[in-house]
Structure formats: C-alpha cells, structure tokens
C-alpha cells in the first residue's frame, strides 16, 4: 500500500461525518491543542452500547495531522470505547509513512481521544450513580 498517497487522499478528501445534533445521545467531545506545534484537534464521538458508532472531527493542522485524524476516526468506528486509549500513534506513524518530526503533532490525536474516554467514563459513572 502506498502510504504517502493514502495521506494525500485522506488530506484532500477526509471522510467527515455530519455534526451531531445538540444533545445527541451518548456524545462526548475531546480537544487537544499545542500552539507551538500549530495543531488543534477535536473529536466528537457517539457511543451506543459501549460501541463507537460515529466519530466527527475538526482539525487545524498540517496535512499529515488532518489525514491521520481521518484515519483515526475511521478506525475507531465500530470498536469498543476502550479503543480510544489504544490509538498508537508511534505505530501508525510508521505504517502511514509520516515523517518522524510530525509525531508530536499526531500525539495530540491520542490526547483528544483520551479526553473523550475520560468524558465517557464520567458519563457512565453518572449513569450508574
């Protein structure tokens, strides 16, 4: 698989989902940003029955970041919520042929997903309490 061209394809036409309606059921949101890296990422995730149904994202960042967010969103959908902390950017960077100096930017995607997971856990706690 020609990974650099997957990057290009995903950057040029990311497969973005429509925004969630306000107060849509089971939707959590996580952001991460780093001004020095010039990146901001937001993931919005709808989890129903512990399964990630839909991932919506917004991103301000370099083409690699945009492409990898797109990949991450696709990868997450259909998985259990635990996948949110299993996004291994170190590994993906290699697979997708992203230059190593971009790793810092990509790690923000992990951060945003981790925030989603925390939100989800809180939501679940509230549901249980």
């Amino acid at each position: 698989m020609d990974n650099p061209s997957q990057i290009e394809r995903r950057f040029l036409s990311p497969n973005r989902k429509k925004d969630f309606k306000n107060n849509a059921l089971g939707v959590v949101s996580g952001e991460a940003s780093d001004r020095t890296l010039n990146v901001w990422v937001r993931l919005q995730i709808q989890v129903i029955d512990s399964v990630i149904q839909t991932v919506h994202f917004n991103v301000y960042g370099c083409p690699h970041t945009v492409a990898v967010v797109d990949w991450a969103a696709e990868w997450l959908e259909g998985q259990s919520a635990k996948a949110l902390v299993a996004l291994d950017m170190l590994k993906r960077r290699n697979e997708l042929g992203v230059p190593v100096d971009r790793l810092g930017k990509l790690l923000l995607i992990e951060d945003a997903a981790a925030v989603c997971k925390m939100q989800l856990d809180q939501l679940n706690m509230q549901g249980k309490s």
Binding site: F11, L12, P14, R16, E31, S33, R35, N38, V39, W40, R42, N58, V59, Y60, G61, C62, P63, V66
Partner: protein, 389 residues
C-alpha cells in the same frame, strides 16, 4: 492527475524570456560566441563584445554608467560584496552599519557575520505596514556609520521603500547607501543618476533572465574590497571567468524589462487577484496597501493552517514567504518582523504575478483558493483564537 498548474511565484524566479534564450544560445556551442571574454584573440574579443553590450543594457536600466556595473553570480553575492566589501574597505571611517529586519537573508546573514567581527549593526524600525520612515533612518545614523543597506522592493510583501528619501538621509551624513534591487527591476524604476544610491544589487533571474548571474553597481569613487580573489576580471572586484551566455542573456532581459510597459499589466493582474481574495472573509493583506510593487501580494488566511493550505493548493505554484524559506518550517522572518504571530505568518501566501500570467489564470486561482479556504475553514471550525489572530 492535476489538469492545471498555475505559476504565481514570479518573485521566486521567472522563466527565461524566449528572446533571452535566443541570445544565450548564440553564445553556446562550437559555432557560438563561446570563447573566454578575457582572451585577446578574435573569438575572445567577440565574446567580450557581448559582455560590453550587456553591461550597457544593464547600466541603462538603472541609468548608471556602464563602467560602474560589475558582474557577480547573483544578488546574494552582490549583497555580500556590498556589505563585507564596504565595511572592510572603510574600516577607518567607522564600524557601524544600518539595515532593517525586513531585508533578504543575504543581507541579514552578512550583517550577522559582520556583527561577529565587531561591526555594530543597527536595525532601523519600520511600521506595521513594513515601511521605513526616513526620519527613523536619519535618527539611526551616527558619526561612525559607514553603510546603510535597505532593499527597494521587499521579496515577501512587495512593499516599496522610498529609496530617494532614505538615500537623502544617507547623502546628508556622508554615509554610503546600498539598495538590494533584486525584486524591483522591470517593475519599479530605479535611477542611480537621480537617486542618491551608491551600491545596487541586481539579479537576472527575477526579470526573465537566467539564474546564476547578477551584478553590482558601485558608484565611482566608492571604496570596496573584493570578497573573492584571483584574476583581474571585473576590475578586480570580481574575478572568475565571465559567463558570456549568462551575461548576454542578463543584458537582453534587462533591455526588455521596461517598468513603464510592464507595471500596468502586472498591476491589473494583481488587482484582479486582490479584488477576488479580499472577498474571502478570513483573508488580510500584508504590507502597505499602495506603497508596493505591482507584482507581489502577500495574504494571511486567518485560521487556516499554512502547510495544509499550500498542500491543498498544490496545483498553484505560490510560496510561503521567500523561496529560500519555503523548505523550512520557520515562518517568514519578514512577516514576523511586521508583527504577525508564528501561526499567522505560516498561514500566509505570497502570490506573485508576471509576464505570462493571464486573466484566466487569476480566475482559476481565485476559484481554487476560495474552495480550499472554505473547506479548511470548515474543517477547523471551533479552533482556538490563536489560529486566527
């Protein structure tokens, strides 16, 4: 895959004009005027005649005597020669020079090295539009100031300095004035017989001449040391075999580069472009609105990440700042000096139009920029303030 590729990077370099190519070709090959112009035989004299013609053509473009034009490998070398050569040869006059943070790297880096050698360098201030006020320059001049180096047209923003007024400040105080005119030839007139300018850096490749050849104008009587040694060519100012085809092409290019004829065309393309771009909500112009060369527009797209913007517009050859910065992650030092944040400097594009830019090229570019900006804007919806201001 890409059906079109529009070149709007004339400030980085221009294609060589076909008439120039013809002159160059006449100097190459076994039946061309390909001898060494320093040789005294007939073939050498024919090559020398080509050099003489070119020297005259280049001199005429800036209203200089031909004998004060010396050939170099480009404006980078001319800038280095002006700074190092003048500061070296005029040590007894003082060890202070003035320049600005808006200058090309060739001047800035040379100034840095001079600083390391004990020269005191003052960076004269400029306003947020990138314009240097002559009063500020006058106030920076000291009794031990030897040289002032200010560019004519900025290569990143297109902002035009008032060389005449700045030169007057220098002349009044007996200070030498160097002008990097790499970007202005053929777009904005420059006359060393009218303006108090002592040294001018010129290059061929921004004006439809070949890359790799430039010149320096040195006013009669200015003391300067060479930076490259060996051989008696160019009055000892610049040794090395003169590159006949390059110089002949350079001359022809400068003969063709008449701002009176070209500037109106460039201006109409640039205005067409700006009329379209200004409708994009997040777009703002960098540099003075009117005191500018007709060929460059530098625009910040607030909230659009720079690298993605350029990648999305890969069918349009534009640059982020200067060409020599374009491979580097560092955002433009010029835009930062004009007060932009790193993020905004990186979100800026330099569009530069030229002789072969058509109205429909601009239409195409406008369509594509609008399309990609709105797509990336939507993608970045919700991003923090630092991405936009």
């Amino acid at each position: 895959m890409k059906v079109k590729e529009i070149y709007l990077d004339y400030a980085a370099t221009t294609p060589v004009d076909p008439e120039v190519i013809e002159v160059m070709t006449q100097c190459l090959g076994p039946s061309g005027d390909s001898a060494n112009p320093s040789s005294s035989h007939a073939a050498g004299r024919r090559a020398k005649a080509r050099i003489d013609i070119a020297r005259g053509q280049i001199a005429e473009r800036i209203c200089a005597p031909a004998e004060n034009i010396w050939f170099t490998s480009g404006a980078t070398e001319s800038d280095n020669l002006a700074l190092f050569g003048v500061m070296q040869a005029n040590k007894q006059r003082g060890r202070h020079m003035i320049t600005s943070t808006l200058e090309h790297k060739a001047v800035l880096d040379a100034a840095k090295i001079l600083e390391s050698q004990g020269v005191d360098v003052t960076f004269v201030r400029h306003n947020a539009d990138g314009v240097i006020n002559p009063h500020d320059l006058a106030a920076s001049i000291r009794d031990d100031t030897v040289l002032v180096s200010i560019m004519h047209v900025n290569n990143e923003t297109g902002v035009l300095q008032d060389i005449e007024a700045l030169g007057e400040c220098c002349r009044e105080r007996g200070v030498l004035f160097h002008v990097d005119a790499a970007q202005s030839t053929g777009k904005v007139p420059l006359s060393v017989s009218d303006y108090p300018v002592d040294l001018v850096s010129l290059t061929a490749h921004k004006t439809y001449g070949p890359m790799g050849v430039g010149a320096i104008y040195i006013r009669q009587g200015v003391k300067i040391s060479p930076i490259i040694h060996g051989g008696e060519q160019e009055g000892g100012y610049r040794p090395g075999t003169l590159a006949t085809h390059q110089i002949a092409g350079f001359g022809k290019a400068f003969a063709l580069a008449d701002p009176d004829r070209e500037a109106p065309l460039l201006k109409s393309r640039r205005d067409q472009l700006w009329e379209g771009l200004r409708k994009i909500e997040c777009a703002s112009l960098n540099g003075h609105a009117t005191q500018r060369s007709p060929h460059v527009l530098n625009v910040t797209f607030h909230g659009i990440e720079g690298e993605s913007l350029r990648a999305a517009l890969s069918d349009i050859a534009v640059s982020a700042g200067s060409a020599c910065n374009s491979n580097i992650a560092d955002p433009s030092h010029v835009l930062r000096a004009m007060g932009l944040s790193d993020a905004l400097a990186a979100s800026s594009l330099r569009f530069s139009v030229g002789r072969y830019t058509s109205e429909s090229d601009i239409d195409y570019v406008l369509g594509r920029v609008e399309q990609e900006v709105s797509r990336l804007k939507e993608l970045a919806n919700g991003a923090p303030d630092w991405t936009t201001s």
